[in-house]
Amino acid sequence: MKSDAFLDITDVVCPITFVKTKVALEDLDDGQILELRLNDGEPVQNVPRSLKDEGHKVLTLEDNGDGTFTLWIEKAGLS
């Protein structure tokens, strides 16, 4: 799937996972897509939910098979 930006948040923990994702989305235009690499467990449970709460569209979640996931998010124009 094509994306307009890529962010890896496997090296940080809550709440910086969400903070970094949120700031990365702010830099995109509405409708653009962020590709996000995140860890299994707490991040994959909470980050997509927080992004939906802010109105963004979570498109696909893919298991990379190495304890990480890739999430595609479409920016929605709230912020």
Binding site: P15, I16, F18, V19, K22, V23, E26, S79
Partner: protein, 271 residues
Amino acid sequence: MSQLTNEQLERYSRHIILEQVGGKGQKKILSAKVLIIGTGGLGAPAAMYLAAAGVGHIGLVDFDTVDLSNLQRQIIHLTNDVGKAKTQSGRETINAMNPDVQVHAYDEQVTAANIRDIIGDLDYDFIIDGTDNFPAKFLINDACVLMRKPFSHAGIIRFQGQTMTYVPDKSPCYRCVFPKMPPKDAVPTCRQAGVLGVMGGVIGTIQATEALKFVLGIGELLTGYLLTYDALTMTFRKIKIPRNRRCNICGEQPTITELFDYEQPTCSFGR
């Protein structure tokens, strides 16, 4: 403005998470310029919260030195600071709190002669009146109205506090509510008037909140209202105040068009 550093993303994470703030809002805070007049009971907590919030430029105006009797409420000054200029002591505390903040010190009392230059020095975005006397409060109001600058007024005495926010064209000014200086014998001298130390914390923190909301452009400011606080009965009241069309400075036919100083009642007891 440049990107937030990883350290800033972490330091301000609880701000950035807020839907109404975000990274964009935090950048606004980091480039904001807030002037705090008086680093006493009100100005001290206001300055500290604004410093913690990452307000990029904080101006501190005070001509006094730290006195032992200040420490019961002026929490930006520490025991070791007694005798130091308050602006210097304030600067040291802020520098220790947050390296993102630049402190601009003005070691003087605001007067009709210098207040325009002080506010204009950095073209401050928002002004906090943390002074403890009526002449300064009227002067700050008049200067902000004439210079079209938003500001937060506040006062504390004993167990009581009050605050209101002025925004040009949008709200009544301090003179709309209090047209004239109170008569001298009606004003308790500072010797007679004690104040519970926490009063400045409650009201000064509200002033800092208003500054942050203004900078962020969020929520509703305390414009058109006077908020009063009685700590003994734990009562907050939000009193609606109208604009006074006949206000001497912001009314339809203003009579005050230039700044002037009221006579300063003298008091040597620590502020």
